[in-house]
């Protein structure tokens, strides 16, 4: 009994290590480049990194900020991977998130009825809107073979500008000083509970964990997960195997958009309680999520931890900007260098070489 428990734990540990091995090495490379940039700024990298990690992971208050910021990033990375693993390069998670969140906020604010029910309805409406906004490029790809890379990106700008219009004019909260562009606050009953009394850490994080578990389940245990992965892996094989590509594409993209909307809804219902202009785009949640997905090679467990790490970099980055005068974009630079290193598959190559050597050894023994 105890043994099987140990074996399960070991297997989980092994799986965790396998998911994190590639990201970890790439992260070291990224931090190395970051250190060079910090040196070029005339500062001591060790001291800067210490300060950065102190004010993102080591102190409880900052750790809570990191986890709070990680919530939408984790969900966005799941939304990205949903599409990418099936071979659909959806870089429009931001637009899908913005559309879904705006709709959810409007429903929460203006649909009459008991707050608990309306709150629930708002999340569902948001998911539906996000899904529809993701289906638009999918349909265009299916019917007209239009590049999804371009359409999804263009739709980001469309969504951001239209959301900005709504928040600036028809939906603007006129009760305050009138200087800030945001909607009124949602009803107290609809707000997600706080998980810590001293910070803004809220139940949105549990939602992110749930989405991660859902992704693990979809990718490892369902027929749909297999079919969509096969479509991305080898389209002609998938067709040969009887996979209905169009149907899989539509479901994949709709799910991607629906998940994306959750990221923004968690931000509104758990943290800000209102939609304000640029709250989801200026924070680049979607792009950080995309980076996390790339670094973790689309593995849900890996993406979860990488998202938290990237979020910590950003929280730490704004801390060192305040105290040391190094711009917080240092976080972006480190992040992008990590993905560039991942893209060259440096790590992968080293691993492959080892693997092939071992194979040769084994072959030698057999012979």
């Amino acid at each position: 009994m105890k043994q099987s428990h140990n074996a399960g734990a070991r297997e989980f540990g092994l799986r965790l290590w396998r998911a994190l091995r590639q990201p970890l090495i790439a992260v070291l490379f990224g931090l190395l480049v970051g250190a060079l940039v910090i040196l070029a700024c005339g500062q001591n990298p060790a001291a800067v990194y210490l300060e950065m990690f102190d004010k993102s992971f080591f102190k409880p208050y900052y750790l809570f900020s990191t986890l709070t910021r990680a919530t939408p990033i984790i969900i966005c990375s799941m939304a990205t991977s949903m599409a990418w693993r099936a071979g659909y390069i959806n870089i429009g998670v931001e637009g899908q998130m913005v559309t879904g969140t705006l709709v959810a906020t409007v429903v929460a604010l203006y649909v009459p009825g008991p707050p608990v029910l309306i709150g629930l309805l708002a999340w569902i409406a948001g998911m539906a809107a996000g899904a529809l906004y993701a289906l638009l490029p999918a349909v265009l790809t299916w019917k007209f073979q239009v590049s999804m890379v371009i359409t999804t990106l263009m739709l980001n700008y469309v969504a951001n500008n239209i959301a900005s219009y709504f928040v600036t004019y028809p939906l603007k909260d006129t009760s305050g000083d009138g200087l800030s562009f945001h909607t009124p606050e949602i009803h107290e009953v609809m707000r997600l509970p706080r998980l810590s009394s001293s910070s803004t850490f809220n139940a949105g994080f549990l939602l992110a964990v749930a989405v991660m578990l859902l992704m693990v389940f979809i990718t490892r245990k369902t027929v749909f997960g297999y079919e969509s992965k096969m479509g991305g892996f080898n389209p002609s094989f998938a067709r040969y195997g009887g996979t209905k590509q169009v149907k899989v594409m539509m479901i994949t993209m709709a799910l991607s958009g629906a998940i994306a909307s959750l990221a923004g809804s968690a931000e509104v219902f758990g943290l800000k309680y209102r939609y304000s202009d640029g709250m989801l785009s200026s924070t680049s949640y979607a792009w950080t999520g995309l980076m996390a997905a790339l670094i973790a090679d689309l593995d849900p467990i890996g993406m979860f931890f990488v998202s938290i790490f990237l979020s910590g970099l950003q929280i730490g980055g704004s801390a060192i900007q305040r105290s040391l005068g190094i711009p917080l974009e240092i976080a972006t630079i480190i992040q992008c260098c990590i993905t560039l290193f991942v893209s060259v598959k440096l790590v992968f190559k080293i691993r492959k070489k080892k693997a092939s050597k071992e194979e040769v050894k084994e072959g030698g023994v057999k012979a």
Binding site: Q145, V146, V149, I150, M154, A331, T339, V344, K345
Partner: protein, 305 residues
């Protein structure tokens, strides 16, 4: 809707076309050798920043334009090394570089100038404005061509030269052969990888010039992320122009017109709504002309996209 109004719309159309056209030509030369380069945005943005930075410290137009072109080419070189030489995934490289340059320029703006948002300074010099002697006095045409910069004219000449080079010379055919069948071209002794890398660097230089016009043309300033998707619009323009330099002029003019109309409508409709126009137009144009594109070649690329 009088003629002066139309002339001013056409004038801003021509100005908005230039950066898109130059970047679209950059995209076209990449597709012609079979490289899918989506780091156009990065190649443009770094040039917008580098040219303004050099402009600020030297006040020399020649040096700023060179800095723009060189910095664009440098980012192109990174793309070439990672994507062509090390065969890294195009989407990952492109997306990472676009974000890296977006963060990097913001980082440098703060580090060098201590600024957030944008850099405007009356020490900055703009590209020379040209008002052609006789044409200036023709009522309608004079207004349409008013205050264009030398690069606005140059971009069309570059398109023409690219057409002649790629389609009318031997070295051009050699380059095109790499895109048509890399293995066959290599078997004939063409250094395919080197040509591909060279073309990506050229696309960097072209985008660099485009980014320079953006920050030193009709406005003289650098703003964080000022390219705002133009690299991707340029990709769409190149794709509509079937990566043919002369056809790309037409498709780029179309996108320039959309931006021109968008600017003109800002007085009537709220700016947030008019700003969506170029992006919606891009999608609509891609859909409308999709049937004319070669489906087999396109599908292969978009099986991924």
């Amino acid at each position: 809707m009088n003629s002066a109004y139309i002339a001013s719309i056409l004038n801003s159309t021509l100005r908005s076309t230039t950066p898109i056209l130059l970047a679209a030509l950059g995209s076209a030369v990449c597709s012609r050798v079979g490289v899918f380069n989506i780091a156009l945005e990065a190649q443009m943005l770094i040039a917008s920043f580098a040219s303004i930075a050099v402009n600020y410290f030297t006040g020399s137009i020649l040096l700023s334009v060179s800095a723009g072109i060189l910095s664009g080419a440098l980012v192109g070189l990174i793309v070439a090394v990672l994507q062509v030489k090390y065969k890294a995934a195009d989407m990952v490289v492109g997306t990472s570089l676009n974000l890296l340059i977006q963060g990097g320029t913001t980082f440098l703006l703060y580090l060098i100038f201590g600024l957030r948002g944008s850099l405007v300074d009356n020490r900055l010099v703009s590209l020379a404005k040209i008002n052609l002697p006789v044409i200036r006095d023709i009522p309608f045409l004079g207004r349409v061509l008013e205050n264009l910069t030398i690069v606005d004219y140059l971009s069309y000449i570059i398109a023409l030269l690219l057409f002649i080079w790629l389609f009318k010379t031997v070295s051009g055919f050699r380059i095109l052969s790499v895109g048509i069948n890399k293995a066959a071209a290599e078997s004939l002794g063409t250094k395919a990888v080197r040509i591909q890398m060279g073309m990506v660097v050229l696309s960097g230089a072209l985008c660099g010039l485009g980014g320079t016009v953006l920050s030193m043309g009709q406005v003289i300033m650098f703003t964080e992320n000022m390219t705002s998707g133009r690299g991707f619009i340029a990709m769409a323009a190149a794709s509509l122009g079937m990566s043919h330099p002369l056809m790309t002029i037409l498709s780029s003019l179309f996108f320039g017109l959309c931006q021109g109309i968008g600017l003109a409508l800002q007085n009537i409709i709220k700016s947030q709504l008019t700003m969506t126009l170029p992006y919606i137009a891009t999608i609509v144009a891609l859909v409308l002309f999709s049937r004319q594109l070669k489906p087999s070649a396109k599908l292969k690329k978009q099986g991924k996209a």
